[in-house]
């Protein structure tokens, strides 16, 4: 909104955004569209769809008034000078309003409401070349004859134009016709009626331009053709075509016309309208067979709002074709059947998804090893796998050690399998499982070919291979069996028996009793005779021998890492203490320290489980960092003459079928060791690999 300060403005434009009901001598109205009845076309705009205006002379501003200003408005209104005549603002309302249907209503209302003066009812052009206007004489003038009213028009194409009289009257119709010579497009015309005595009835609203009042004629020659019928035969499409109105000059492009089709069923009341389009044919879709339809068309100028009259109606009807129904039914049944079957299949598939997946895509068998997460079998986790396999945890597998210590040939593993039987030709049945298990040197010397044992990993040496590894294993085995009192023999091979060539690989074991190998008592059960104040436990007096032997060996072991094992050490006994708090297993180190000749010392029959037992402590050896502190007792003092053990182990069956509880200690170790590699300690898991490692280091 802006302030119009031009001098030639002498009207007030009031723009009201609020619905107002104004009474008094102003006709009541509800909305601007309905009742612009008042003489000076006074109207307050309630809804922003139609514009009306009021005129107040001599005021020169535009205002926007809100509801709170309605009183002010009333004052203003009351002071209005109703200067404009209550003529028909018909033509201008035609121009401005978007729907042309209301104009007739207004006109009627106007006529009914108040006594009106002669005014123009309508001006219309059909072809943009001529136009005509109709007037009505009004109600309160008693005109003797229609000719008394004269029409004058003004063409405002120049400032100095004058009012001219209508070029062609048709008093019968009260119509004034302007032919082509008197018609100019794009130029405003103003019309007025003059009665007798130069009474002029002029409404300034009756000014218009011809292009704005064009209402083209309806099209002609309507006809329709059947386009297509649906497969069910129930609906069809129809193409309606027509000719443009002859009065409208479309061919020269002077008029550009749009058409609007409307159709309805024969007995319906409302019409269906399709979108206006400029072509002379259009398709109506979806008509029902068997129903008659009525179709008519109207036109309008492109870019202008006014429609012309409707054309004459044509009737469209297509009869049904009942024969197709069966086919339709059949197709319907088939379709639904197929759909139902598909749904069933889908349901089955969905419900048995798992099984179907198993059938269609069977799972790939993955390697499964007990105790090993198959994750580890993936790339890059070989070390962990090795670690686990080789005894990283306590749940190691039996075969892991062989892989772990493959490059340490002094490690030999117990292998208990049926193939040992063939080796046992010379063995008598006296060889017990324990002996076999421990790989103790059998009494029978034979059968020690490495060939009899196909297991490559065992690293078996030949029978006469006095590899110290055998000794180690024997040691191992021996250590695991708690020794019998008094019956220990150094389990270790006397060192002189080991050829120097082999000793390089086993740097550790210095356990060499000088010709006096003592057996380690392979007693699995031992009685604790005494508990040392240092924490060691004296198992039985017989063990002390061993202890003494191993003591020296232990110290030797500590000092001669990697040294040649040809050194002979005094056999010493060593008290082995298996730390109960630790792994509870005797370390292999300690086991090896305990030198026992691989004689025919046979532990008691039966397979004795080796379980951790607190054993004598190893004296004065630098203790292992974690487990099995070895405390070597002072040899003489700790010698205890233990009482006889409450239990003992049958070592061997004599030739006379008598039980040998304690094997003689002087028994020379057989030259050959059984080829049973000792595997038990590690396999059973009693020895921790770090102790093994200590051994090896």
């Amino acid at each position: 909104m802006h302030l119009c300060t031009e001098a030639h403005l002498n009207y007030l434009y009031i723009d009201l955004y609020v619905h107002i009901k104004v009474r008094k001598h102003i006709t009541q109205f509800n909305s601007c569209e309905e009742t612009c009845l008042v003489g000076p076309e006074f109207c307050l705009r309630g809804k922003p769809s139609v514009s009306c205006s009021i005129e107040v002379p001599y005021i020169k501003s535009v205002m926007a008034v809100s509801l709170s200003y309605d009183l002010l408005l009333l004052l203003v209104i009351s002071s209005l000078d109703w200067s404009s005549t209550p003529g028909s603002a018909f033509l201008t309302d035609h121009n401005r309003m978007t729907s042309s249907g209301r104009s007739e209503k207004k006109q009627q209302k106007r006529e009914r409401a108040t006594p009106v003066e002669p005014h123009f009812t309508e001006c219309m052009s059909r072809d943009l070349e001529t136009f005509r206007c109709w007037w009505s004489p009004g109600t309160f003038h008693n005109l003797s004859s229609p000719e008394e009213l004269r029409v004058f028009y003004l063409k405002r194409n120049s400032p100095s134009s004058e009012w001219k009289e209508c070029p062609e009257y048709s008093h019968l119709n009260r119509e004034c016709f302007f032919d082509a010579n008197h018609t100019s497009i794009w130029i405003p015309y103003c019309l007025q009626l003059r009665g007798q005595n130069n009474i002029t009835y002029f409404n300034e609203d009756d000014c218009f331009s011809v292009e704005n009042i064009v209402r083209p004629d309806p099209p002609v020659s309507l006809n329709w053709t059947l386009l297509i019928v649906s497969p069910s035969g129930l609906s069809y499409d129809v193409m309606v075509s027509w000719e443009p109105p002859p009065s409208a000059d479309v061919s020269t492009g002077w008029m550009r016309i749009e058409y609007e089709i409307q159709y309805r069923e024969r007995n319906a009341t409302t019409w269906e309208a399709l979108e206006t389009q400029p072509h002379t044919q259009q398709t109506i879709y979806g008509l029902q067979a068997g129903t008659e339809y009525e179709v008519h068309i109207r036109t309008k100028m492109k870019g202008f709002p006014k429609f012309g009259d409707f054309s004459d109606s044509i009737f469209v009807k297509v009869t049904e074709i009942p024969l197709r129904e069966s086919a339709v039914l059949l197709t319907l049944v088939l379709t639904f059947g197929v759909a139902g079957i598909l749904i069933l299949i889908m349901l089955i598939v969905v419900s048995h998804q798992q099984r179907l997946m198993m059938i269609l895509l069977p799972p790939v068998p993955a390697p499964k090893i007990k105790g090993i997460d198959s994750e580890l079998l993936k790339k890059g986790k070989l070390e962990e796998l090795d670690f686990i396999l080789n005894g990283g945890g306590l749940g190691g597998l039996p075969t892991y050690i062989s892989d772990y210590y493959q490059d340490e040939p002094w490690v030999e593993f117990i292998e208990v399998d049926e193939e040992d039987a063939d080796c046992g030709e010379k063995e008598d049945q006296k060889s017990s499982d324990t002996q076999r298990l421990l790989g103790l040197p059998q009494r029978s010397v034979g059968c020690f070919s490495a060939d009899s044992h196909p297991d490559d990993d065992s690293g078996r040496a030949s029978c006469y291979d006095t590899d110290l590894s055998e000794q180690d294993t024997h040691l191992l085995a021996a250590s695991l069996l708690p020794g019998q009192p008094e019956d220990e023999e150094a389990f270790l091979h006397p060192d002189e028996k080991a050829p120097a060539s082999e000793t390089n690989k086993s740097p550790l074991i210095q356990t060499e009793s000088e010709g006096k190998p003592t057996w380690i008592n392979t007693d699995l059960y031992a009685q604790v005779s005494n508990v040392m104040p240092s924490g060691g436990v004296v198992l039985s007096p017989g063990q002390q021998l061993r202890i003494q032997e191993n003591t020296e060996k232990e110290s030797q072991k500590k000092g001669t890492l990697g040294e040649d094992t040809s050194k002979l050490n005094k056999p010493q006994f060593q008290l082995l203490v298996v730390d109960p708090d630790g792994s509870g297993y005797t370390s292999e180190i300690t086991a090896r320290q305990i030198s026992t000749p691989p004689s025919s010392l046979v532990p008691g029959e039966g397979y004795q489980t080796i379980y951790p037992q607190p054993m004598e402590t190893k004296p004065a050896a630098p203790s292992e960092p974690n487990q099995s502190p070895y405390i070597l007792p002072d040899s003489p003092q700790t010698r205890l003459f233990a009482p006889v053990a409450d239990y003992t182990v049958v070592q061997e069956l004599d030739t006379h079928q008598s039980l040998l509880l304690n094997l003689p200690t002087q028994q020379p170790p057989p030259p050959c060791l059984p080829q049973h590699p000792l595997k038990a300690p590690v396999a059973i898991g009693y020895v921790t690999p770090d102790l093994l490692g200590n051994l090896s280091s």
């Binding site: 978007t98 794009w186 130029i187 405003p188 331009s209």
Partner: protein
Amino acid sequence: LPGLDPLSAVWVGIICLVFSSRLSTMKAASICPNDQTGCHLLPLANLFDRVIQHSARMHGISDDLHSEFELYFLPSKNQIGRVSRNCHTSTILTPNGKENAQRIAREELAEIILKLLVAWRDPLWHFHQSMSQHDEFTNFSSNKSLEMSDMVHELRKGVLKVVEKMQMLGIISNSVGDTGSPEALLTSDSAEWRFMKDYDLLYCFRRDSNKIQNYLKILKCRIVPKHGC
């Protein structure tokens, strides 16, 4: 190019040559191979159609804006009567009827169209400026006014192209000069449009856009009548 070995460069060169030769031949080849009588007018008819569509759209926008303007401002009733005095394009003599439009020479008609288009270039631009300053107007209106002002520009260029084509085809003489200098045309009226109110401007433009649309259509149907009249 670093990665381009000579062989591929040769291939690329060959392909480029082939395409360029094809393109040049395509330029030379016209739409009318047999050179039929009406065939060479087809592109002109297409041009006309596009221009007429453009002008129709322009008229539509101006109509929308005009009615929207009436919602915000209630003009007085005799605005219609008074406007004709104020339209700055009133000085341009335009045919006001069908016979006049058909009788007038084609060149003159084209020239009138161009004059009209030129005359509205500045006023519409200023109208858009003033519109955008008013807060009451929605963005919709502001966009429309900008679109309108652009369309006048585009339409003028299009009509110039059509005129060129017609001159090239020999349909009209070369007397239709370049009417691109608005100052020469509107010496007397140059300032008048500034005093017009916005509403009057819109009304005038609505009328003039209808004129332009009509004239273009008449021109087309006079020159290429067989192509959709």
